[in-house]
Subunit: 420 residues, 2 copies
């Protein structure tokens, strides 16, 4: 939990001015008045919800959000032609904590969302193994299970080029975090038995794209999972139902969904998605291939683009940080356009390769300024500015933009993207 | 993550017999054959999902489970007349990990589910305070935020009397666990300022039951929260939208939903739900009142009632344990009707007043037996047998049954409630 710093009490006195002190006369009588008969009457009318029975239990056997939250949905670009190779983004600025609810987890599909009957689905494990194996979903569930919380992020998050978007979701909504349950890929590989020469594992999805990626064997023997559950329940269709690969900290497209095949080989297959796509073109015309790891990144989610600070006074700056290399070690926040930086509070649990929530109490004086956050992970890696990325990679790069995101605060309290 | 014990490798050889080894001839050609040309062809036909485009992104802006999971819903008793004071249960036996998805979180309402517009909702804080305060939801969100993972459980979970039900959900489905975000009640009480004589806080809900409970001030100044988000998104209507009280480790009904009023007083108000209900009648005719804490409890969720072990051999026994007093310290499992007990593996994260996942590898020999689990919390408290509860409390008790739950395994592999 947050450890309020010394600025907190000062800042909070700013907030109190905007909370209504109760009037000491008038209003509805106090049914609870006892043991304190001097208590004032409450200006708190009995609402309609107390005067009529509510909806019965079981009205919805699988529950849904309040109709008043109907705008908190996945964010699809307005001009997107609903093509099958496309994405939707998590509404980061509307969420709290580190768990992304399954209904709002970001999507990135290369051939649309297949409908797969788990009873007929099979996963093959073959290639350089002693005993090729074919698993039903029930058989996979019978193996020892592992549960772990990790983020998943598209390597195209955020865009390297304009337009960058307005909200935290527009800009960096291709990241989400969940509690995953499955079987360690290591367990299955041990079951099959590796043959000499095994160096890579090729994963293939059962979607129309036949999504295929090569994964180094070291990762497969480390923390790779074959996942069947997300946030307690079975995977959603758009997250790979009934089984997907999960490679913690690696770019999201490698965690192949609707997984049907794992082939152990001696060299990568150079599939479409690791040659034509998901490589990084450098200024000299060469391309970096197999840039798996998502480097340290952070974003302030409140106040953030499209929001408005209601009034000067206390503001809790809230954000998310994450790193594909392990745990977040610290997050620094600047409220003056990068001149000074203050260490934010990291909220428990701080988990390896998971979203981590940070906060910093701030007293906004009403003047225009720029807010930004900068993550440092346990390897010592520091999130760069965009100018640093540009000088290292040039204009042709596309993936793996992990630059600091600045937000502009206007005197009106309106917050906007300082990069736009 | 699980640390497999020595029995694991032995047991796993039992599982392998039920996983199909791939045939070495016939089937579809191997498009990935390279760097291993001796690889056999795969008996893995190309499924329909690879031959037609899938559904486009954004088909559902708020996602839903696969239609193949349509039976994984909240469990409402078949003869329930859909009365507004009723409950629905979490399908524990179908879930993994420790997070309960919001759509499957258990329900217990006393006046039905109200529909509340957050823009018009107010929370009053008054009574023995220096400055009575009235908060909008936005004002509550502006205070420093706390995020924490806790279980919630009805004190009537499970029933003390027959019929006990068949499945883990029937028996113990009035418990769930989520990541909650809100403001510490301590923060609001400090903002208002306590007056001399303050000892209790009375919480009132804006539902048709006017649900009212008295909470000791110590709890309010410790870990009590005013919660607005659950698993990242805003509270669902059936969980108290737009704001609820959360009292970690206390019986669920005290975490008053649709919270509209907190009155600081010198003594409990003895509301209906702490006199006529939620008290524990003892053999001598007196009743225990204010039995707040949910004691240590556990249940094996797989294999559990209504499930069937597919075949002798490796079985991972999986379950959940929790305690209102703090962290789970250990869980022991018996696979022989209680004669011998083996310590199970606790899976990270082990959090205070949260569900904790445990597993134990087991090799089922095909003979009938009884499985049970017994939790011990960090206070040293040991989950009792039902006979111990009966001898202490007699036949008239109803709430706070935390007895060990035994499952009977038949030679057919069918699992049933050994108490039924």
């Amino acid at each position: 939990m947050s450890q309020p710093d010394r600025s907190f009490h000062v800042a909070r006195r700013g907030l109190l001015r905007h909370v209504a002190a109760l009037a000491t006369a008038g209003g509805v009588g106090d049914a609870l008045a006892q043991g304190g008969s001097a208590a004032p009457a409450l200006p708190l009318p009995v609402p309609a919800s107390m005067q009529t029975p509510g909806a019965p239990v079981g009205t919805k056997l699988y529950g849904e959000p309040s109709p008043f939250e109907s705008k908190v949905v996945r964010n699809v670009a307005p001009k997107l032609p609903q093509y099958i190779s496309a994405s939707s983004r998590t509404p980061l600025q509307d969420l709290d904590g580190i768990i992304t609810p399954n209904g709002l987890f970001y999507e990135r599909h290369h051939g649309g969302i297949p409908t797969i009957d788990p009873a007929s689905h099979r996963l093959a494990l073959h290639g350089l193994v002693k005993t090729p194996l074919l698993f039903t979903v029930d058989e996979l569930r019978r193996f020892p299970s592992v549960t772990t919380i990790h983020f998943l992020e598209c390597s195209g998050n955020p865009s390297y080029k304009k337009p960058f978007g307005k909200t935290a979701s527009d800009i960096m909504g291709l990241v989400s975090c969940a509690e995953w349950t499955g079987v360690a890929l290591k367990t299955l590989l041990e079951e099959a038995g590796l043959l000499p020469g095994a160096r890579w594992v090729v994963a293939e999805g059962a979607d129309a794209a036949g999504m295929t990626r090569s994964v180094p064997l070291d990762k497969c023997l480390d923390d790779a999972l074959i996942v069947y559950s997300q946030n307690g329940e079975r995977l959603r269709p758009e997250q790979g139902y009934p089984v997907r690969l999960l490679l913690p900290g690696f770019e999201g497209n490698m965690s192949v969904k609707w997984l049907r095949r794992l082939k152990v080989v001696d060299a990568p297959v150079h599939s479409r998605e690791e040659t034509a796509k998901y490589t990084d073109l450098l200024p000299d015309g060469t391309a970096r291939q197999f840039t798996f790891t998502m480097e340290a990144k952070s974003i302030i989610t409140a106040p953030s683009g499209g929001q408005r600070i209601a009034s000067p006074g206390f503001v809790e700056i809230r954000g998310l940080a994450w790193s594909g290399r392990g745990k977040i070690a610290r997050v620094d926040v600047s409220v003056d356009g990068g001149r000074n930086w203050t260490e934010a509070t990291l909220h428990d649990p701080v988990l390896s390769r998971a979203l981590t929530r940070f906060t910093l109490p701030w007293r906004w004086d009403g003047a225009p300024t720029i807010l930004q956050s900068r993550a440092v992970d346990e390897s010592g890696y520091v999130q760069p500015d965009f100018s640093e990325l540009l000088s290292a990679r040039g204009e042709n790069s596309f993936y793996h933009n992990n630059a600091v995101q600045p937000w502009r605060v206007a005197a009106s309290g309106e917050v906007s993207n300082a990069n736009a």
